[in-house]
Symmetry: C2
Amino acid sequence: MAEVSAPPTRRLEILSAAAELFARRGYHGVSIGDLGRAVGLTGPALYRHFRGKEALLVEMLVDISERLLTEGRRRVAAADTPDVALDALLRWHIDFALDNPALITVHVRELGNVPQPERREIRRLQRAYAEEWVRVLLLMHPTAAEDRARAAAHAMFGLLNSTPHSTGELNRDTMAALLHAMATDALTGAFRA
Amino acid sequence: MAEVSAPPTRRLEILSAAAELFARRGYHGVSIGDLGRAVGLTGPALYRHFRGKEALLVEMLVDISERLLTEGRRRVAAADTPDVALDALLRWHIDFALDNPALITVHVRELGNVPQPERREIRRLQRAYAEEWVRVLLLMHPTAAEDRARAAAHAMFGLLNSTPHSTGELNRDTMAALLHAMATDALTGAFRA
DNA sequence: CCCTCCTGTTAACGATCGTTAACAAGTCCG
DNA sequence: CGGACTTGTTAACGATCGTTAACAGGAGGG
């Protein structure tokens, strides 16, 4: 039994459906049966592609964290000045959040459901990404305390990652521009006085 | 069997412990047994105080939403100008988020696990609170589109509600001042140009 | 003193969970 | 043509879930 073709897109198809469901109902609120049904299979079929439910979540979170970090680093390295680097980071994060609202939601919420060896690895990636922002902010404001830069970066993530909850009243480009403007001003406000 | 005294603080004790656990592991990641154990009881004892697990979540979310809305409205009504009203809203929300990080987390994440009749009621309260912000923002920027004000308010919530994820590097007052500065500047940035 | 209410316990229920076993159909290479 | 590999299925497992039943001890008022 099979269908016309079962290329390795199956894994990606499952991951994509899982992201949507995890974002909507939370990791524990989605069963293996739900995940299979979402891609037209039965539950146990998923074990042909993933070692288990936790492994699926781990792969999703590692992938998101690596994509954010890799491209973030690339853009910072390519920038000539801290201002340009910050702008590049902002545009990257905004694009990612607007294009992958479910992934962003899972990334923010579900780390706590990952068991310990892998959990630490994901946190390492997340922290490294945040440190990219902190580094740029400190270059722009050399007298600022590192604690303050870190707190400002986290607040920034909160602002940018809020888009999944904004029930799409603005079109994509307008929303991107709005977030960019708010984030830029918030960051200058964070280091005034 | 009983203890020296069992005043109605039991309900609040349970709600408080539940908020902490729901924030950490998510609604479905916490069992009735976990909730009982967190306050020194067995699982079934909770049914002496709540009709069930869902009712507990509903009560928590309704309470948070009502507190935010009631005090938000009170402060706006007491303000003489839109600028003062916005400042009052900001301080209220920042104080609430810093003092109740677990409640804020649950409020943001768990609405999707509430069944339909009560879900609508909670959304109504949340929306009414957001509209308080939108109203003030539109008074400050009369030419702005309502959509834009709403999107800006939601982005603002994202920024302010991010504090639970900032792993307390700054002390409370410094953090409050930082969030206030970032939020104020972000909101002026949202309506520039 | 007894009766009732309140608040807790343990035991047990049916449902659902993640996972594994056993089996089947298709593909592909020899 | 025939086995090996891949990717599905259904059936079944033990564990855990939310919930209810049955029972018990203390408090307080008649």
